[in-house]
Amino acid sequence: MSLIEVDHVSKNYDVILQRSGMENVWKNIFCPDRKVVCAVQDISFAIEAGELVGFIGENGAGKSTTIKMISGILFPTSGRISVAGICPYLKREKNARNIGAVFGQRSRLNWDLPMLDSFELHKEIYRIDSGSYRKNVDRFIEMLHMQDFCNTPVRQLSLGQRMKAEVALSMLHEPAILYLDEPTIGLDVLAKQQIREFIKERNRLEGITTILTSHDMKDLDSICKRIIILSKGSILFDGSMERFKQEYTKESVAEFTYAEKRSDQDISSGSVRVILDREHRLVVGYSPAKMTTAQLVETVSARYEINDFTIKAPDIEDMVRGIYEREEGMP
């Protein structure tokens, strides 16, 4: 049995529509217009212990709703969820001991106190024994380089320092599962890097199953082994990072400079097309799914005397944009 099982789960919200205008006052009060909004529609997936999973989706795709349901905050409208063998929304408290969560947009630290005070509160709430608490605090402070600011009121910390404290806080009670919602939003490169490393490290050492949502594709690329793409409440893709790259990579672009042409024969084929060939510059588009870089170089060098080449690797961000646009029906 998998650690997290989500089985044909749907979630509908009842949204009350406010009508504007004087004539609708009474209508708004006594018979408001209701609209059922389907946030998540019949999704199923399973996550094994120790996996690093990234959730991708535009705003309102159902990422947070899904995470809220797995973490026991929301009831699903239909379907069944089990986390470590228990039902998270029926046994919320029991499930909560097992999970840690970071919501990047909100802080759970007390702003007027140093982060260590918030840590102590966390220790009480999660009933952590003093021994492992001490051990974890010391290790986390070292791993995330928090020595300098652990006694400064959180109010005076930078965003990056604060987020490190948030991430550390969520792991103090050694949860089996960690939910990270936008953990690197608005951070500088170094802080991002340190947080990513920390998450990977914890996964490697403790086997913490990690579920991450982010709009920063580099986060996903460097942390996640598996990607689930949601769009309009349905799963669009569920598979490994490699498969994702293969399936969704459009064209890569390679640029060559050459000394001379060996022949005038066109190198265009099913997998390569020439975009530009002028003044000793050759730009070709090729599909990495069908052709490796070595094969491309081989093909080109058969006809050109190559001096140098650069390859613009496919960008996950471009890929995801492609997926969204396809969904929106845009070109």
Partner: protein, 264 residues
């Protein structure tokens, strides 16, 4: 002037979407008048009669008028200043091509315009229908009242602005707000008219600006004053207006410099 019109039209669009909360707050400002009226009725008892020369009917009239006057002279400028200093938006406000004092005044007046339109006027009219309103008011007194109450609005605004500016130094106006409501409740006559005050409090009230915000305009409207006394009220209002204006300008300029130098 153009800017004023702009702000007014934006607020109008915002607020003309008549909403449930307006209904509720109107209902409860009516209930508050009801509460006051029954208190006075309870105080006068079944026999009625006059106390300190004031009859029950005079008190009912005063209660309704004071609800109205307190309603239109109200201002939230102290809170507005507090919010914008704490959130830091005051620095952006300083970039506006209009003095902040003027800007806040226009905002305060527009806000009150809608509160008056949707809250104060309906509740006061309801109270008049419910309890009756028997007062002989001459047109000339209405004009004098309008003049006097305008001064009242300005005095209350400037006073609030003056002490509200101090958040630039204190960074919290909660206690100022409390002190302000203490003084206003006590001395403005919005709840208990100064007619019933014991002598020491009455004397104290003469040296403070608060009675010129609610109590004196109503006294002018009800024609309780001779021509000389009315002139005296106007003189005092004008004196306070001038004093508060100078003080507010002085304190505000120092505060603005502090914000500009230290970046809020």
């Amino acid at each position: 002037m153009g800017l004023c019109r702009k702000i007014l039209s934006i607020s109008f669009k915002e607020k003309s979407i008549f909403r449930f909360d307006y209904l509720v707050s109107t209902l409860f400002s009516f209930f508050h008048i009801v509460l006051k009226v029954y208190l006075w009725k309870g105080l006068y008892g079944i026999s009625g009669g006059t106390v300190n020369g004031i009859a029950l009917n005079d008190m009912l009239v005063y209660s309704i008028l004071s609800s109205f006057t307190a309603g239109i002279t109200k201002t939230t400028v102290m809170n507005d200043l507090n919010d914008s200093v704490l959130s830091g938006s005051i620095s952006t406000n300083l970039l506006l091509p209009i003095g902040l004092k003027k800007y806040l005044f226009v905002g305060s007046v527009t806000k009150n315009f809608f509160l008056t339109l949707y809250g104060t006027i309906p509740s006061v009219l309801a109270a008049m229908l419910f309890f009756g309103f028997h007062a002989r008011i001459r047109p000339v007194n209405i004009i004098l009242y309008l003049f006097s109450v305008t001064m009242g609005i300005l005095i209350n605004f400037l006073y609030n602005f003056l002490f509200g500016s101090s958040v630039i130094w204190f960074r919290n106006a909660f206690f100022l707000n409390n002190i302000n409501s203490v003084l206003l409740n006590l001395f403005s006559g919005s709840f208990v008219p100064l007619w019933f005050f014991p002598e020491p409090l009455k004397i104290l009230s003469v040296f403070l600006p608060f009675r010129y915000i609610v109590f004196e305009p109503i006294a002018v409207l009800l024609d309780t004053k001779s021509v000389e006394e009315t002139a005296g009220v106007f003189t005092m209002q004008f004196f306070w207006l001038l004093l508060l204006f100078c003080a507010a300008t002085f304190v505000w300029n120092r505060g603005r410099n502090k914000i500009m130098i230290q970046g809020g």
